[in-house]
């Protein structure tokens, strides 16, 4: 029952917020609905923590892995709402682009992401995943500028084609399931498939074919190289709260789908095939994104490529497998979403106050926007994987697995990319934060350090530090249980 509530509440909120024409009313309603949703997610997670799993009819199901990802998206969504309350003032009124449409689409987006997590049926998972594209395409093109329209179109087409391949993969998987003797009604239930995984080995060629298509398809949404072309455009052109939602919510949701399939394939064919494929895409993403980060000219584009790089780390962790690889990958989805939200929030604040996010036009931010710059520095140190922040722990965990398996290739790529990324990030951000500029003198001291957007940034920073020092025990237990689900 609670699952149905958590699932349908965002949909209802999306419908209701459309009736509120006034910005303040829409904002208050959105915050209230967001809080109820968070409470629902927290309750679900607690119930799952206590009893192992929850079910509602044959379509909705939550286990520890679901709960782990739900907590992540719930927290990110609330931060995005909090940040939007002040950001929304900059939104010009227009068709499909007014505060109420913004909130309605945001809730619709949340609805589809939560749908991906809660469904127990791999066919429905595909349907909800395609719906995430549809719900967020208008958000990406929200500003209706040339760039936004181009990015929105590209996002819509590239992701729909990618997901069409994932649909093909899903169908082939279903065929393999039916051939293995599972009844057609249950052959898409992921738990049934996991239990029947050894029987699937009979149609080895089909499973391999399906998994390739699934990784390419859902990999498009994860933004793995070479299917990443939509990602930098969409992240850079979308309003900053939406960029945070994309990077911290959407990408994880596609990672989740790949994790589920990877578990089934590993159980039926052994780890070699699926893990090699993931390692290949992970390494490609790491190298390409790392190198492209050096030459970026826009702050938000730089952050977008950083997302590709971190998805590469996650794919590498999954590809290495083993306890620490898996642990690091899962923990990294969580840490990355907070660090990237923090960075997109601060970059968005810069773009709204200074009027541009071009690196060449931004100078001396530390003087003009001291608080935002502070948040940015924390974000950059965290995203570069330095202690005392959470990402250090998860990246170290993946690296540890690489070394303990004596997988020198993965270790070399990881270490090499991390150092390139560190220098690219510090190079760009030092330029933006420090050096002196005449142009910005007349901006004087802008409004900085007040308002809910700084609460959102503060929460991100605190979470990152806490997870860098110690992982809270209940969370750690949940993480272990989530890994247990996949065994």
């Amino acid at each position: 029952m609670i699952l149905a509530l958590v699932f349908f509440l965002p949909l209802m909120a999306a419908g209701l917020v459309l009736t509120l024409k006034e910005r303040r009313a829409a904002t208050l309603f959105a915050l209230a609905a967001g809080l109820i949703e968070i409470a629902g997610i927290a309750f679900t997670a607690w119930r799952v923590y206590a009893s192992g799993s929850l079910e509602f009819t044959k379509y909705l199901r939550a286990d520890s892995l679901t709960a782990f990802f739900l907590i992540n998206i719930g927290a990110v969504f609330f931060l995005v709402l909090l940040y939007s309350t002040s950001y929304i003032r900059h939104i010009p009124a227009g068709r499909f682009s007014s505060p109420r449409w913004f909130y309605a689409l945001l809730f619709l987006f949340l609805f589809t992401i939560i749908g991906v997590y809660l469904t127990s049926n791999l066919g429905l998972l595909w349907i909800m995943m395609e719906a995430t594209t549809l719900a967020s395409a208008l958000l990406v093109g929200f500003y209706n500028t040339e760039g936004a329209i181009e990015a929105g179109w590209k996002y819509l087409i590239v992701c729909t084609v990618g997901l069409a391949f994932a649909l093909f993969g899903t169908i082939v998987f279903y065929i393999a399931g039916v051939r293995a003797g599972i009844s057609p009604d249950a052959a898409l239930q992921w738990r049934v498939l996991l239990h029947a995984a050894p029987a699937l080995a009979g149609s080895q060629a089909l499973i391999k074919l399906a998994f390739v298509f699934l990784v390419v398809g859902y990999g498009t949404k994860i933004g793995l190289v070479p299917m990443h072309s939509w990602l930098p455009d969409a992240h850079a052109e979308a309003p900053s709260p939406v960029s945070a939602m994309l990077s911290a919510g959407l990408l994880n949701c596609a990672v989740y789908a790949v994790i589920r399939y990877d578990a089934i394939v590993t159980h039926s064919l052994g780890a070699a095939f699926s893990h090699h494929l993931l390692l290949f895409f992970g390494a490609a993403s790491l190298v390409v994104a790392g190198l492209l980060m050096i030459v970026q000219q826009d702050l938000k584009r730089l952050l977008a490529y950083s997302s590709v790089e971190h998805m590469g780390i996650i794919a590498t962790g999954l590809g290495l497998g083993g306890f620490f690889g898996m642990y690091g990958a899962l923990l990294h989805t969580f840490n990355h979403s907070f660090a990237k939200s923090l960075l997109f929030f601060s970059a968005g604040h810069v773009r709204e106050t200074v009027g541009t996010s071009k690196i060449s036009e931004l100078r001396g931010l530390a003087r003009i926007l001291p608080w935002t710059s502070g948040a940015m520095v924390v974000g950059v140190i965290a995203i570069a994987g330095l202690p005392p922040f959470g990402l250090f722990v998860s990246e170290f965990s993946v690296l540890r697995e690489a070394f303990s398996q004596a997988h020198w290739f993965a270790a070399l790529i990881l270490l090499g990319t991390l150092s390139i990324v560190f220098s690219a990030m510090t190079y760009h951000f030092l330029k933006v934060l420090t050096s002196h500029s005449e142009a910005h003198e007349n901006l004087g001291r802008l409004r900085d350090g007040k308002g809910p957007e700084f609460v959102a940034m503060g929460i991100c920073a605190v979470v990152l530090i806490i997870f860098g020092i110690t992982i809270p025990l209940p969370f750690s237990n949940l993480l272990h249980a989530a890994m247990g689900v996949l065994q």
Binding site: I127, E130, N144, I149, A151, K154, L156, A164, L188, Q297
Partner: protein, 221 residues
């Protein structure tokens, strides 16, 4: 008498493949977007007939429902919406081919050849007839080809629809389609996707004054 009908229904399944290859080749030669929309409608009609014949041989009420849905959505609604869009947009109606129609037919013939070759690996495990499966793969590959060689936004939408038809056919000829609720969800996503693409097409035309997506290249690197 019933046996005769059943034989006829089975024949439909395999001979429909030939018609599908025909639409694939014709779509490559088409110079106008509206021709492609009509061809898509015909292609979907063939699919709907195939589903109906499966429904008849399998005595499945769900399959009859799917056949009706395919007919209503893909044969009537979507082509109608596409033609309506074209009338409203007042932009040139050519497909914006970067490879000439003549060459495209050659490539398409190669695509059909490749699809026969590709399905041979899986025939034993799939237990489907070679020609129907090859038709499904040919639809998918031809859609990919159309997508990269046709520059108009609407042609990309049509290519996407053809791609979806190919995937639908693949599911149909191997396991008589997906469960009904999934099939419905896919069609719903397809319709919503089309609606959104329609919105974006209007926005592209209003902002750029053309629908040539190969000229949308401000964002790169």
């Amino acid at each position: 008498m019933g046996v005769v009908f059943e034989m006829a229904a089975l024949k439909v399944l395999s001979s429909a493949a030939v018609l599908l290859f025909g639409t694939v080749l014709l779509m490559a030669t088409a110079r106008r977007i509206s021709t492609c929309a009509w061809l898509f409608a015909f292609q979907s009609l063939v699919l709907a007939t195939e589903v109906a014949s499966v429904a008849y041989t399998q005595h499945s009420r769900e399959a009859w429902f799917v056949a009706g849905m395919v007919f209503a959505v893909k044969v009537i609604a979507i082509p109608y919406a596409l033609l309506w869009l074209m009338r409203r947009l007042h932009t040139p109606h050519d497909v914006g081919a970067s490879i000439s129609p003549g060459h495209s037919v050659f490539v398409m013939a190669g695509v059909i050849f490749v699809s026969f070759w590709a399905v041979r690996l899986y025939l034993r495990e799939l237990r489907a007839t070679e020609v129907t499966l090859a038709a499904a793969v040919a639809l998918i590959l031809s859609a990919a080809f159309l997508m990269v060689t046709r520059n108009k936004a609407l042609m990309q939408v049509i290519a996407l629809l053809v791609l979806e038809n190919g995937i639908f056919l693949a599911a149909l000829v191997t396991i008589f389609g997906m469960p009904l609720i999934i099939e419905m969800g896919i069609v719903f996503d397809l319709l919503m996707g089309l609606f959104l693409m329609g919105i974006f097409v209007f926005r592209i035309r209003d902002t750029f004054d053309h629908l040539d997506v190969s000229r949308l290249r401000r964002l790169r690197g």
